[in-house]
């Protein structure tokens, strides 16, 4: 870097207090140099999102100042940030499903000729930008037909199209397969090479070490370090993230004796399921989950995992094939019936499918068990019992909350997920279908989620675990099935499930 170049972003002593006294950012300073990839790491609740919100103008800081390219700026709303060349790509897409990817990118900044939308000029500019960044997207496809990875790339182009010189990526690889993640970071390198800066938030230390030039570490709302990536290592980052005393908290390998194949918990036979728009999404899938076993399911996002999971729990009708729980055929029965019979489900999207954010925690924990007398349900609810039950579950699963009457929206992501898992396990299910149960969670919360699941597998529950994170799958699964294009491409024992082998099955469908 040259000394005469002012930093692309200079945030000085940013402080943000939320009502209720939570200090999300305590005098945090952040300097991003032009032409660098800068990682921001920290646990959930460390203040990363707030800090990025301040930079994007969506969060008003209580104190502190921001300079962009050396000039002080005031960012009152995202429009101000965009005008100053800040772009944000969130975990969740902001694309309007019915519009084409191109129109989504142009939206709000449409090139106009003779008072009408000049799509041709727009398209040329968009294609120019995507070629520069090494991005390929079918621009004329409507957004709802694009994969998560393609949407994300379109979002990046959208930010660039709006003139972003500093691109914020919020957990960009949370939903990507390893190969896609690598392609994404190639794009990041291209953007950085053009002189712009990329700020990315992540939990994954490997990404920090491999793809960033600088890294800022946050913990509990304060900055605990700034490092040049080449001068640090994973151990140092973990201790800065978690504090020295907690650096021991990591996902432990489950210690289990590899006993003989025991009884069958959940079985899927020749299951065929249609996806959105009636297209076949799962073809004749066969899977067997034994009692006490974690069967991981790997696959590139959109390989039919969601449809398979939903068909197993009863949310999606099956075309043919059957689902058996402990030998009992439950194909065609309702979600409620299967749940009562012992199939629990941890859905992928905890905000939309897992929790009702405006319900309090007791109500959320009751949901699905509200006709169950032992949980305080029944035609008439037994309020006292519901509260006592909620209180017990919250304590047992270590949810940090202000009690069963506080709304679910008041919890952090990790604690929300603990609630979802606690509810799923509250009925002592015989099988658990979990979709990415630790997505977006920090190390501590992930460990808590797996501890809870493990306590039940020890008692004989079988787990079908869908995840896009291969490291995670290899750590917690006994066997790993790989989905490719709606089919089960193979099932590997943990010992033989190397990343290369899994990757080949995921991307080519054969070993």
């Amino acid at each position: 870097m040259r000394a005469d170049n002012p930093p692309a972003v200079h945030m000085r002593n940013i402080t943000k207090r939320y009502p209720g006294g939570v200090v999300a950012n305590n005098a945090i300073s952040l300097t991003v140099l032009p032409g660098t990839a800068h990682a921001v790491v920290g646990e959930n609740g460390a203040g990363k999102s707030t800090l990025m919100g301040v930079l994007y103008g969506s969060v008003r800081p209580d104190a502190g100042s921001i300079e962009i390219d050396g000039a002080p700026v005031t960012l009152r709303r995202p429009a101000d940030a965009i005008r100053h060349g800040i772009g944000l790509v969130t975990q969740h897409t902001t694309m309007i499903p019915a519009l084409t990817a191109l129109d989504n990118v142009l939206l709000g900044f449409e090139p106009v000729r003779f008072g009408t939308l000049d799509r041709r000029t727009g398209r040329r500019r968009v294609e120019e930008l995507s070629a520069q960044a090494g991005i390929e997207v079918d621009w004329l496809a409507s957004a709802d037909t694009l994969s998560v990875a393609a949407l994300q790339k379109a979002e990046i182009v959208k930010a660039l199209y709006r003139g972003a010189r500093v691109l914020i990526l919020d957990e960009p690889t949370a939903t990507l397969a390893p190969a896609e993640a690598d392609r994404l970071f190639a794009v990041v390198q291209g953007i950085v090479a053009s002189g712009a800066s990329v700020l990315f938030i992540t939990h994954k230390l490997r990404e920090v070490l491999e793809h960033s030039g600088h890294v800022t570490i946050l913990r509990g709302g304060a900055k605990t370090g700034d490092r040049v990536t080449s001068e640090t290592n994973a151990d140092e980052l973990v201790s800065l993230m978690l504090g020295a005393d907690r650096s021991a908290v990591r996902l432990e390998q489950p210690q289990r004796d590899r006993s003989e194949p025991s009884d069958v918990s959940l079985q899927v036979r020749a299951l065929t399921v249609r996806g959105r728009g009636g297209r076949p999404a799962v073809h004749s899938a066969d899977l067997t989950v034994r009692t006490g076993e974690v069967l991981g399911v790997a696959g590139v996002d959109g390989s039919g995992q969601r449809e398979l999971a939903e068909a197993i729990v009863g949310l999606r009708p099956t075309v043919s094939g059957s689902v058996l729980l402990c030998g009992e055929d439950v194909t065609g029965s309702s979600v409620a019936f299967r749940a009562a019979a012992g199939i629990a489900y941890v859905p992928e999207d905890r905000h939309r499918e897992g929790l009702i954010l405006d319900f309090d925690l007791a109500e959320n924990l009751l949901l699905g068990r509200h006709r169950d007398a032992s949980a305080g349900g029944g035609r008439f609810l037994q309020r006292r019992r519901v509260l006592a039950d909620a209180e017990r579950l919250l304590t047992e699963s270590g949810v940090a909350s202000a009690g069963p009457l506080s709304p679910a929206s008041s919890l952090s992501g990790g604690n929300q997920q603990k609630v979802v898992v606690a509810r799923a396990l509250a009925r002592n299910p015989r099988a658990l279908v979990a979709m990415q149960p630790t997505r977006g969670l920090d190390v501590g919360a992930s460990a808590a989620v797996y501890d809870a699941i493990r306590a039940h597998t020890a008692a004989g529950m079988g787990v079908l675990l869908f995840s896009l994170d291969l490291d995670e799958l290899r750590e917690v699964s006994d066997r790993i099935a790989v989905m490719y294009n709606g089919r089960i491409a193979g099932v590997l024992d943990r010992d033989e499930a190397g990343v290369e082998r899994l990757g080949k099955l995921m991307t080519e469908g054969r070993p």
């Binding site: 729990v313 319900f359 109500e363 509200h370």
Partner: protein, 338 residues
């Protein structure tokens, strides 16, 4: 923090206050005295026992149909069809009121009320079922069913159901055994108000303390999460709409048995429509709906008195209503967008 918790109470109060200020300005601009008008309005609605009873009697159909809209609202459904459900419920009660003779009151009255409840509920179950299983938007369907109900009732009461001995398009009077107790002071106050309050308590218990109410609220606040947790979302929607229509039908039945003693064509000045404002202002909660129905009832009762004594036209009360509806609607939209 405290402010946020109080917002559901403070915001409606502010919008009511604002509405009175706007109406006062209009009165002043037209050369009247706002304070005189207000005092007449208060005098007419709660300044005497008759005024007070008139307020309660005007509030009765608004309370019941407001509860109807509120129940649907809690399930995330917008029932614009309370008017049609109320009219058909009224017609059914009027029919049961004169078709059965020789019954004791303690049997006859429940039969008539049940007829209104049943017909209103079935009528509203149609848009519920269409929404749940065909995806047709309940707002469109209920609006269209209103026309059907109004015209169908008009047709019947001018034809087969018309009392031959009457000049007006109306059914025969209901049997004395089907009449609710009513005050004799011309206030139209009847035992129906007590029934409406009971219904409010019933709805509160339903929503807070029963599995069905829990499912209704879950579907309203998070249909996806409810579905994933095993709630039958479609059936819950139909139940909520049927309950909603049942309450509106009860409102119509009580108007017939307590006030008009027969079905009179076009007897409803739009209770079913005003009830949307009542439900929104009341925030969809039984307590809120009760309070806002009393406010609207009082406005309606006081306006007549105000017009008679101050030459301020009764339509001024309509301005108050309009502003309240406007701000309640804005609040509702804002809540939905979140």
């Amino acid at each position: 923090m405290i402010l946020r918790r109080l917002a559901p109470v403070v915001q409606p109060l502010l919008s009511v206050l604002g509405a009175f200020v706007v109406a006062g300005i209009v009165v002043w601009a037209c050369g009247g005295s706002p304070f005189e008008a207000l005092s007449a309005l208060l005098q007419g609605s709660c300044g005497s026992s008759t005024g007070l009873l008139r307020t309660l009697s005007k509030a009765t159909p608004l309370l019941l149909s407001g509860l109807a809209v509120a129940v649907a609202l809690r399930a995330g459904l917008f029932n614009i069809g309370a008017e049609g459900q109320l009219i058909l419920g009224a017609l059914a009660a009027a029919w049961a009121g004169h078709a059965f003779t020789g019954l004791p009151a303690w049997i006859h009255i429940p039969i008539c009320l049940a007829a209104g409840v049943l017909v209103g509920g079935l009528w509203a179950a149609i848009p519920g079922a269409l929404r749940a299983w065909r995806g047709s938007h309940e707002v469109i369907v209920t609006i269209m069913l209103n026309y059907l109900a109004i015209q169908f009732a008009h047709f019947l009461v001018n034809g087969v159901m018309k009392d031959p001995g009457s000049m007006a398009p109306a059914t025969a009077m209901v049997e004395p055994s089907a009449r609710l107790w009513a005050a004799a002071d011309g206030s139209n106050f009847s035992a129906g108000f007590g029934l409406a309050l009971l219904a409010a308590v019933g709805v509160a218990v339903l929503l807070r303390r029963t599995a069905l109410g829990f499912e209704i609220r879950a579907v309203g606040l998070g249909a996806d999460a409810a579905r994933v947790a095993g709630v039958n979302v479609g059936r819950t929607m139909v139940s909520a709409m049927a309950l909603s229509g049942a309450l509106a039908g009860l409102a119509g039945a009580i108007e017939v048995l307590g006030v008009h003693r027969r079905y009179l064509d076009a007897f409803s000045p739009g209770y079913g429509f005003d009830s949307i404002a009542v439900a929104l202002l009341g925030g969809g909660s039984p307590v809120g709906v009760t309070l806002s129905s009393l406010l609207f009832g009082g406005l309606s009762a006081g306006a007549t008195y105000m017009e008679a004594w101050t030459h301020v036209p009764r339509q001024i009360a309509g301005i108050v209503q309009g502003v309240v509806i406007f701000s309640a609607g804005a609040r509702y939209l804002k809540g939905r967008r979140r």
